[in-house]
Structures are given as structure tokens and as C-alpha cells.
Symmetry: C2
Subunit: 193 residues, 2 copies
DNA sequence: GTCTATACGATGATAGAC
DNA sequence: GTCTATCATCGTATAGAC
């Protein structure tokens, strides 16, 4: 293996899993220690604090969003194509980081300052680019004339649950989810006649 | 006042607010006591446990959903009209119970058995009625032929954030949100040409 | 109903031996 | 790096005086 087995990584992953299942505040270091078969105190040879694990997860995910939107934002496609790419980006991140995305989405609030503000800043920058793409599409008359913030929030939240649905070994793959979600979000529930 | 001031109700409301702001597990009884200007021990003259507050909130909201969908399910409207009513029901519950809805949506997991199972049963029953309405609309060719579970989950989550947007004193009222959301969900982001 | 006092287990984190 | 032992604090909840 290029990447050698790392106990540190193991602790981070087990931590994220517990945060996902029970919530950050309800997860104890003792439980995490049990999961990775160490005594509690031994954890601290690998990490500095419980919150450090949360920070790593949240920043990892928010950076994936930031990088993704920067690429989309920077290229020369139409607003319509960019929106399609954004939906694809979301679904890719959510399905590829099921555990981490959930922690990012629900538990970030438990970070303390100054990390919390740093995190929120990255999130805000992402949203600004998202909104400006929506604005462009509205201006060009391709998207409905609704508040872009309203559209963005609706879109973002509409996709937050898909990790529950994603079962790649049972025939529910990313491509199928992409197509269904795109149809639903772009042209709505109503069937054309 | 018809409804006399009740310290018990005050405690429940303050509790829900804290659960909403900090999460159930991260909220302490000491903090709640401070909020309602009592000593911790005095709280227990009004409530039996912290979890009791969570239970009250979660069951209150899930019953609003259950009652609402039963009415919609039982009447003679078309599937299209029923779906419109469901969207309206969601938005009404979310905006009228901003704090409680959030706790219901994010913190229910912290209930212990057997209350948790009881709660999940009510939620499931609600979802079944929702799905059967979607199935009917699909069968009649009014809705797109997508997995009704996929549609339901997307719809539900797309609306979970609107309490952040609802500012009735600043011109953002329920009627406006209803119209925007209906447009967006039924016919999508794409503008007709 | 509210208080003071307290029970007592769980919490995140550290010290120091090996 | 891992352990045992321990710390200080906080958690929910109770007992009993007033």
C-alpha cells in the first residue's frame, strides 16, 4: 500500500462515524476509545482533542464544495450547464462522503471560535458563487425569476438526504440519482403533456 | 387571559429553544434553569426529566403532520390538489412552529425506547399516506414517473430550511413562500419558453 | 414550589510509569 | 505509544427544610 495503515486515520474515521450516528455532543471519548480498541488516554497520543476530529471532518467537506464550485464557476459553460454541474457536485460529495457530509451538515455548530467563523466564511464564499450562477441564469431568462437565495437553499436541502438512498450494490447508483434529481429539480414534479 | 401563565409551559418553551440552538445533548438542565430563573432542582417540580421535554416537542409536531395529512388524504380532491395541500401543510407547520419543527427534525434521535419507536411509527404512517398520494398522481400521469420515495424525501427536505427565510414583519409572508415553493417544486427551476 | 445540599456517575483531558 | 491512575468539572436527578 502506498498509504500505510495509520492509527490516526482510523481514529478520525471512527470518530466521524460516531458523530454521525449519535451526534457530536452525545459521543464520548470513552466510546471512541472502545471502537478503536485503545484506552482513552492513548487516543491523545494521536489527537489533541475531540473537537479536532470535528474540525477535520467539517473543513474536509467544505473544501470539497469550495474547490468544486470554483472549477464550475471558472469555466465557460452556460448558466444552465453550470447548474447541472453544481447538482452533480453535490450528489458526488454526498454519496462519496456519506458520513462526513452528515457531520459537516449537522454538527458543525459545535466547533468553537475561531474555527467556527473560519468554517462559516468558506461556506459563505461557496454560497456566493452558487448564487451568482443562479442570478446569471435568471437574468438570461433560463431560470424562473425567484429569489436566488430561495432557490439555493431549496436545492441544497433537497439533496441532503440522498446518502440514505444511495445503495450502489443494489442497483441505486450515482448516475441514476443524478438523472432523477436533475429531472426533479429542473423541471419539477409535474409531468409534461 | 384565557390561558393563564404557566411555569410549566415556560420551561417547555425555553427547553425547546435551547434544544434548537445548541442541540439536545449539548443542552444542560443547569442552563435551562438559568433561562427560566429557577434553581435546577426546582425544575423537577414541573417536569420529570429532560427527555420529557424532547418527547413533548417531537410528538406535538409529528401529530400536526399526522392530522394534516389525514384530512388531505381523506378528501375528494385530485392528486395534484392534494400535493399542493401537502406542500402548504408543510410550510404552515414549519413557519408556525419554527423552534419545535427544528427539534422534531434534528433531535428526535435522542429519545429513548419505547417513545422513539412510537414516534417513528407515527412518522412512517404519515409517509405512507404521502407516498400513496404521489403514487396516484404518477399512475394518472400527472406526476413524473420517479420513485415516490425519492420524490417524497426530496420534497420534505427541500422545505426544512424555510423557517430561516420566514420574516413576516419584513414582507416575507407565508403566502409568498407558498407560491414560490409550489412553483419551484411543481414545475422546477427552468423557466418555460 | 422553591430553595440548599448532595448524590454519584460520566465527561474531556493529563501525569507519569513502562 | 500504551497503559493505570487520577483530576476537575459537569451531567441529571433527588432529599428534605422552609
Amino acid at each position: 500500500m502506498i498509504e500505510p495503515y495509520s492509527k490516526k486515520k482510523h481514529i478520525y474515521q471512527a470518530g466521524a462515524k460516531l458523530f454521525h450516528e449519535k451526534g457530536y455532543a452525545a459521543t464520548s471519548m470513552r466510546e471512541l476509545a472502545t471502537q478503536v480498541q485503545l484506552e482513552v488516554s492513548s487516543l491523545y497520543s494521536h489527537i489533541n482533542s475531540k473537537e479536532q476530529i470535528l474540525q477535520a471532518v467539517c473543513f474536509d467537506v467544505v473544501k470539497q464544495f469550495a474547490d468544486g464550485i470554483e472549477t464550475i464557476f471558472g469555466d465557460t459553460h452556460s448558466a444552465k450547464q453550470k447548474l447541472k454541474d453544481i447538482i452533480e457536485l453535490h450528489l458526488k460529495i454526498i454519496t462519496e462522503n456519506q458520513t462526513n457530509f452528515n457531520v459537516f451538515n449537522k454538527e458543525y455548530i459545535h466547533m468553537s471560535e475561531p474555527k467556527l467563523s473560519e468554517f462559516l466564511k468558506l461556506k459563505k464564499e461557496y454560497e456566493k458563487k452558487f448564487i451568482s450562477i443562479l442570478k446569471e441564469g435568471i437574468k438570461l431568462g433560463h431560470f424562473k425569476n425567484l429569489d436566488p437565495v430561495f432557490i439555493m437553499k431549496t436545492l441544497f436541502n433537497s439533496m441532503t438526504w440522498v446518502h440514505e438512498y444511495y445503495k450502489p450494490n443494489k442497483g441505486v447508483d450515482l448516475d441514476m440519482i443524478n438523472k432523477s434529481m436533475y429531472k426533479l429539480l429542473i423541471s419539477g414534479i409535474k409531468k409534461k403533456n
